[in-house]
């Protein structure tokens, strides 16, 4: 099997039949994130300088921690990212995640996730490479059908 070499910048993009406000809510509200983001609860005030935490759905274990860098609802959110669920990624420096939300014609919104500053975090880069596709596919399905992905 071919494995993807770790990329210092990763870009993921998806078109969703929803408004920018709905996409923003799906990213920032725990009642949504538990249904598509590996069951995790998001916790943040989404103000610059505030902590960005992703907690395990069934406990208070912090799986990802970071800090909000920029926030412009419902268009853009930028925060740092450190995955704590694996001791190897937990010891790596913070990387950065930017969510860009752009309205398109016909009631469609383009969501782009840029995960960068991964140069010094190869384990994180490897870990999120498949993860973001799964998360964005689940987010799209949830917003368009009201149901999470099966399985």
């Amino acid at each position: 099997m071919t494995t993807m070499t770790e990329q210092a910048t990763q870009v993921y993009s998806v078109f969703i039949r929803a408004t920018p406000e709905q996409v923003w809510d799906a990213i920032t509200k725990p009642e949504f994130t538990t249904r598509y983001f590996h069951g995790t609860r998001i916790e943040s005030t989404f103000e610059p300088g505030a902590p960005y935490l992703s907690l395990a759905g069934d406990s208070d274990q912090t799986l990802v921690d970071g800090e909000v860098l920029e926030s412009d609802p419902p268009r853009m959110l930028k925060h740092t990212w450190r995955a704590l669920y694996d001791p190897e990624t937990a010891s790596e420096p913070f990387s950065r995640v930017t969510w860009e939300i752009e309205p398109q014609e016909g009631g469609v919104t383009k969501l782009t996730v840029v995960h960068d500053q991964l140069e010094a975090a190869p384990k994180t880069a490897e870990g999120v490479a498949g993860g973001w596709s799964y998360v964005l596919s689940g987010l799209k399905t949830l917003l368009e059908t009201g149901e999470p992905l099966q399985g």
Binding site: A8, V11, Y12, V114, S133
Partner: protein, 119 residues
């Protein structure tokens, strides 16, 4: 009887999935994706240097990949970099492949129980 022609005779529209399947149907375009899979964030010049094809030809293929959402470009200083976006493939996987794989698995489960019962 409905008089809504759009409902009764749906107009054939190109869907996102159509664009992805069409983009993936060409070996040069799959080769371009493999190049980005190997190392992401390449310039057009870099991609041209890895193919025996004119700059114009590569641009044409990249445009089809971009329209399908399989390639996303970003400006980095003065350079335009091309990134592989695997999400459309994931969507096809989640909506199509999983569906048929499930049926295949249940068919195998049925075969197993049939064979074990008759054994």
């Amino acid at each position: 009887m409905t008089c809504d022609l759009l409902v009764t005779y749906p107009v054939r529209v190109t869907t996102d999935d159509d664009r992805v399947f069409k983009a993936l149907s060409d070996p040069t375009r799959r080769h371009l994706l493999d190049n980005l899979f190997e190392r992401d964030g390449r310039t057009l010049t870099e991609l041209v240097s890895r193919l025996e094809m004119t700059r114009f030809g590569v641009m044409k293929h990249l445009r089809i990949l971009e329209e399908a959402g399989l390639v996303v470009t970003r400006r980095e200083g003065r350079q335009k970099l091309h990134y592989l976006n695997p999400v459309p493939i994931r969507l096809i996987h989640d909506r199509w492949i999983d569906k048929y794989r499930e049926r295949q698995v249940s068919a195998l489960a049925y075969l197993k129980s049939e064979l074990e019962e008759t054994a």
